[in-house]
Amino acid sequence: MSIPFLLFFISAGIAVVGALLLIVAREPIHSALALILVMVALAVLYLLLGAEFIAAVQIIVYAGAVMVLFVFVIMLLNAGVEERTNYSKLAKFAGVPLGVFLLLEIAHWMWRSAAGSTVANGAGAPNQAAFSTVDLSKLLFQDYLFPFEATSILILIAILGALVLAKRGE
């Protein structure tokens, strides 16, 4: 077993365990910490895929900014243990089998679509070097300039919306 495989399985295991912890934890703060675990494991996987810039953004924006926002809100609202409510019968008897079915369906088609092509399995891939951040920024600021500017407007609107909502209504 080579190093990339070992790294992949360790990170994938951490990500899946973190996602399970996120679901079973009863304290919201424990869920938040489990989600940070998943995000760090995913950053390692991005590095393994050669996407260095995305790995850095994942750590800085997701594990840093977004999760701090979550933890801050949990502290602010003093969110305690989640109350256990009786779930509806429909969720238990139809939701779980359908959820598992959806999971198997997605996994099956992704496996088939990727296993079929030689490129996807690294055999015929022309270049396995890391993605260049310079090329990525050229793409972002030239071909995708309009969507990039549109997201800046989106963030501006989000800031205004958050301000209006957070203001105490008189």
Partner: protein
Amino acid sequence: MNVVPISYYLVLSAILFGLGVVGFIFKRNIITIYMEIELMLNAVNLAFVAFARAHNHLDGLVYVFFVIVVAAAEAAVGLAIVITIANNRRTLNVEDVNLLKF
């Protein structure tokens, strides 16, 4: 070099997305439900990066960038809404926020 097949990443992405859906259905705390949405977005990001690698194309990474930006904006507005609900209704349980429920 012995690289990990892309299909492994895709199956991991599917597993994470499925866990996100299951958690989204079963959690009762609004903040935790937001976290499950973030988990699903992360699973999709992993699939984007894996496909970008498979096709050796940078466009997938640009989409990941946009997904992260939109997720951050969504978290900011969503958590502001959560704070407003918690101030008005004194609860974080989605079962108790049923004004619009049929």
